[in-house]
Symmetry: C2
Subunit: 144 residues, 2 copies
C-alpha cells in the first residue's frame, strides 16, 4: 500500500505536468517489478488528438519498454478513473492491476460496464483521491 501511494505521487507529478501545459490534469505511470516503465499525461490539446489520454500514452510506452504486447505483470497508476476507451485499451493490454485516485462521475468506465476490463485485472480506487480530485476541480473551476 505504501508503494501504491509512492507511485500515485509519480502519477500526480505527471498530472502536474499536464496542468502546467494547460491540459486536463491527469497523469499515469506503469510499474513493473517496482520500476516505472511508462509515463504519460493528458496531451489532447497539444496533439489535437482526443485519444491522447495519460493512460494511452503510458500504456504504449510500457508496451514498447516490455518489447511485447501484454502487461499482465504490470500495474497502472492513474490519477483519475479511466474512461471506456482507456479501459478497452487496458483490456487489450491485459493490464495486471489498475490503481486510480479519483472516480470519474461522468465518463468513468465503471459507470458503463466493469466487464470493459480484462477479467483478470485487479482494480483499486481511492489512492490519494483528494489530491487527484483537487487538481481536476481546480482546473475546471479556472475554465469557468
Amino acid at each position: 500500500m505504501d508503494s501504491d501511494v509512492q507511485f500515485m505521487r509519480e502519477a500526480l507529478r505527471e498530472a502536474q505536468a499536464a496542468k502546467a501545459a494547460g491540459e486536463i490534469p491527469i497523469g499515469a505511470v506503469v510499474v513493473w517489478k517496482g520500476r516505472i516503465i511508462g509515463r504519460g499525461h493528458n496531451q489532447t490539446e497539444r496533439l489535437h488528438d482526443t485519444t491522447a489520454h495519460a493512460e494511452m500514452i503510458a500504456v504504449t510506452a510500457a508496451t514498447e519498454a516490455m518489447g511485447g504486447k501484454y502487461l499482465n505483470d504490470c500495474t497502472l497508476y492513474v490519477t483519475v478513473e479511466p474512461c471506456p476507451m482507456c479501459a478497452g485499451a487496458l483490456a487489450w493490454a491485459q493490464m495486471g492491476r489498475i490503481v486510480y485516485g479519483a472516480p470519474d462521475q461522468r465518463r468513468g468506465f465503471s459507470l458503463f460496464s466493469p466487464s470493459l476490463l480484462h477479467p483478470r485485472t485487479e482494480v483499486t480506487g481511492g489512492v490519494l483521491q483528494e489530491e487527484c480530485a483537487a487538481l481536476m476541480l481546480e482546473f475546471f473551476r479556472s475554465k469557468r
Copy 2:
C-alpha cells in the same frame, strides 16, 4: 447507400492490406464531404501495440487532416464492428456516423453498452457484411 458500399470497399481494401501483412484483417476509412481524409488498418503485430486498431489509426489521421479535434461531420467506415476501446475513441472524437460491415460477437461495443458512443452518432451495420466477415473467418481458420 451506394456511397456506403463504395466507401466500405475502400475499408475492405485496407483490410486486405492488413491481411497481406499477417495482421487481423480489419480496415477503416474516415470520409468528410465525399472525400477520404483518413485510412487505417490493424497493425497490432507490426507495432507491438495492442491499441493499434484500424479505427484508432484512421481517426487519428482524420483528426490531423481536419486540423481540429472533432469529427461531427465525418463518417467512419470499418469492416468489423468497433470494440469498446474504439467506440470510446469515437465518442471523444464525436464521430458523426459509423458504418460497419460485420458484427463482432465477442468484443463488439454493442455487447457492452450502446452508450459508449457519443449520443449523436448514427450507426449503420451490415454493409458488405459477408465480404467483411469472410476475411475474418478465413484469417482465424488459417491460424488453427
